[in-house]
């Protein structure tokens, strides 16, 4: 199945070179767990905020077709 990886703020530097928006598609096995996919991404996870469809994922949560897995660096904002 396919999901979206969305990278915000300074993590945009980790986007594939041909990606013109903030997100790209990724083929993952059905029922892939959030943790498994994160381990494949090039971002420093211990400094990241991770969201699935804008919400906080539960430990062990599995992904569904079309889900948006979003990451951005943990920084205080406005």
């Amino acid at each position: 199945m396919r999901i979206w990886i969305k990278l915000l703020a300074t993590y945009q530097k980790y986007l594939p070179p041909d990606c013109s928006s903030s997100a790209y598609e990724m083929e993952v096995p059905p029922d892939a767990r959030v943790e498994d996919i994160l381990a494949q991404l090039p971002v420093p996870l211990d400094e990241s905020v991770v969201l699935v469809n804008g919400r906080t994922p539960q430990p062990g949560q599995t992904l569904q077709e079309g889900d948006v897995l979003c990451l951005f660096p943990a920084v205080a904002g406005g």
Binding site: L8, E47, V49
Partner: protein, 609 residues
């Protein structure tokens, strides 16, 4: 005394009398400095029921304990007074260079009393204090005011002043310093205007005495080094994009205020982001005094309609003039920001008030003849025009200048005002960040992110991520953040640096390094417990001012939209702020009774009886 100057400059504008007072060391330690000291003096000296724009109100400039020390971001002051916007007290924060210079004059606080008969400005050069006529500057914009006063005083003078909005007593008027930095909230500019005080200019050459200078310098250097490494590694989001990096983040979480907080998702979020700001308009990042982060943005917009140059916009400004007004034109948002700085307006309250007017206009609740033009969501030119009118209080701008609550009430529908205690929301829709909802509702100064920005944890994951949709543990965390923000404000540091580098990066966010820094500065015997209690004390004394001003539980609330209209779409879809589930526990943890009034036991515990 170490760390503090221990001296207050009192300026009676009615009589022209200037006096110097010493600060009691116990008061100094118990209330830390900055915001805490300001609150203590306001509480002792101002009847909470006075008209905020009368000579009986006082205006206090308060530099922090660590302001003008080697601690990075020790560059802030607080403006403390009774607010004409909310009727409560306020403490409005600003950085830049003025606060450091102010503390170097050898005073920690300036207290302004009474009202000058004619416009004046104050010039303080170390011990030389002079009240000067300002008739020739009255009516001038902020930038020109600064330039004139600098030419009349000292090329290195730092200046805080009001623009036309403050002179015209607009309840959303700010005090600008260093041209682009604002103590923006709660109408502090109007209080200054009511005193006929156009500006304060300072030049200070004194060093703040430190109890343990070497230890302080070592720890300060270590923090600076850590920030520098993050910047060098390209990890400092605030350096790279400023706070403007935030709109796509809050949009992803579904709390980017859109169309006057009808919804939390905005199709134009990317168009108003820091990336676009950097690519199109950034000249260079700009730092306040002693700050290794440099989140400020010096920008220029080349555009026939929205052209200009200045600092900003920051996230809050993008939220208010951008998504809240349905505007996805970053050039227009920057222009609105530049104009606010020139006119001396709060960008948050002004933008959210325009958004309120837009919604009411579209619903047919405000006739076009009153406004003088159509005022639809997304109309960037209209936003800029409304800012101009608000700053001068001309035409429909006179209503905008009074804030959304008065504007919406004028047309019989206060429920369209997105405010708490009549102060406009910052750019987080609290339906999707429950802790922010509790914070807005209970904040002593009305809705504000600077009272205890729990969005750090709910949204930004600093120092740890909380689920923003959950109410679990939020009363405790909000209370804790309120207390630690009171500490940071009283220390005169910037929260961007302090929360990340001076507190433990754990769920408990202990004030480890900031305690050491305060102890090195003062030698007064601070430990973590006394410091946290001091934060609690400051917060509680503020509350006592509100109680005496007539506020009660009924005022600790939110607009009906937040409590009863479920978020229509996005990740927070279906949610309202569950205030009733959080408020009783919050009061209990604060040691306040069911009406939000501090109990006698609590006051005794904090030494406030």
């Amino acid at each position: 005394m170490y760390g503090w100057n221990g001296r207050i400059l009192r300026v009676n504008l009615s009589t022209g009398k200037v006096s110097v007072e010493e600060v009691d060391p116990k008061v100094a330690k118990d209330f830390i400095g900055g915001r805490g000291w300001g609150i203590r003096y306001l509480y002792d000296e101002v009847d909470p029921r006075v008209d905020p724009l009368s000579p009986e109100n006082k205006l206090i400039f308060a530099a922090g304990l660590l302001t003008a020390t080697p601690v990075p971001t020790g560059n802030r002051y607080m403006v403390v007074t009774k607010s004409p916007l909310t009727g409560a007290l306020t403490a409005s924060n600003s950085g830049g260079f003025f606060p450091t210079e102010m503390k170097r004059t050898g005073f920690d606080l300036f207290i302004f009393e009474g009202r000058a008969e004619r416009p004046v400005y104050l010039w303080v050069h170390d011990d030389h204090v002079e009240i000067r006529p300002a008739d020739h500057i009255w009516g001038k914009m902020v930038f020109e005011t600064e330039d004139i006063i600098r030419a009349e005083t000292d090329p290195r003078a730092r200046i805080a002043c009001i623009g036309p909005a403050g002179e015209r007593l607009a309840p959303v008027a700010a005090i600008l310093n260093d041209k682009h930095r604002a103590a923006a909230r709660s109408g502090v500019g109007a209080v200054m205007g009511s005193k006929n005080l156009k500006a304060v200019a300072v030049r200070g050459t004194r060093r703040v005495p430190l109890a343990h200078p070497r230890e302080l310098k070592d720890l300060a250097d270590q923090v600076v080094e850590e920030v520098k490494q993050a910047v060098a590694a390209g990890k400092s989001t605030l350096r790279t994009y400023g706070t403007a990096y935030v709109p796509p983040v809050t949009n992803e979480v579904g709390i980017l205020p859109t169309y006057n907080f009808r919804t939390g998702v905005f199709a134009g979020a990317e168009a108003i982001s820091g990336k676009v700001l950097s690519e199109k308009y950034l000249i260079r990042p700009k730092a306040c005094y002693g700050c290794p982060i440099a989140c400020g943005r010096l920008t220029r917009v080349d555009d026939p309609v929205f052209g200009g140059e200045g600092e900003g916009p920051e996230y809050e400004t993008i939220g208010s003039f951008g998504s809240a007004c349905g505007v996805d034109n970053l050039a227009a948002i920057a222009k609105a920001n530049y104009l606010c700085n020139e006119l001396g307006l709060d960008t948050i309250s002004t933008g959210v008030t325009i958004a309120c007017a837009m919604e009411m206009y579209e619903l047919g609740l405000i006739p076009e003849s009153d406004i003088g033009r159509p005022l639809r969501f997304g109309d960037a030119q209209a936003v800029v025009e409304m800012v101009r009118l608000a700053g001068m209080r001309e035409g429909f701008g006179d209503l905008i200048a009074q804030g959304s609550y008065r504007l919406a009430s004028h047309y019989g529908h206060p429920e369209f005002s997105m405010s708490a205690k009549k102060q406009e929301f910052p750019a987080y829709d609290p339906r999707g960040a429950q802790g922010m909802g509790l914070l807005y509702a209970t904040s002593n100064i009305g809705a504000s992110h600077m009272r205890g920005d729990i969005a750090y944890m709910e949204v930004f994951g600093v120092p740890k991520k909380l689920d923003p949709l959950s109410v679990d543990d939020k009363p405790r965390m909000v209370k804790y953040f309120e207390d630690i923000f009171a500490i940071v404000d009283s220390a005169g540091l910037c929260v961007f640096l302090a929360i990340r580098y001076l507190f433990e990066p754990t769920y408990n966010v202990e004030p480890v390094r900031i305690t050491r820094l305060m102890e090195y500065a003062t030698g007064a015997g601070y430990d973590e417990e006394t410091l946290l209690r001091a934060g609690d004390r400051v917060y509680t004394l503020e509350r006592m001012f509100l109680v005496r001003a007539g506020f009660s539980r009924a005022d600790d609330t939110l607009p009906p939209r937040m409590l009863r209209e479920p978020m229509p779409d996005g990740p927070a879809k279906g949610r309202v702020v569950e205030l009733d589930r959080m408020l009783p526990e919050f009061y209990r943890l604060r040691g306040w009774d069911e009406n939000g009034v501090p109990t006698r036991e609590k006051l005794a515990e904090l030494g406030l009886l």
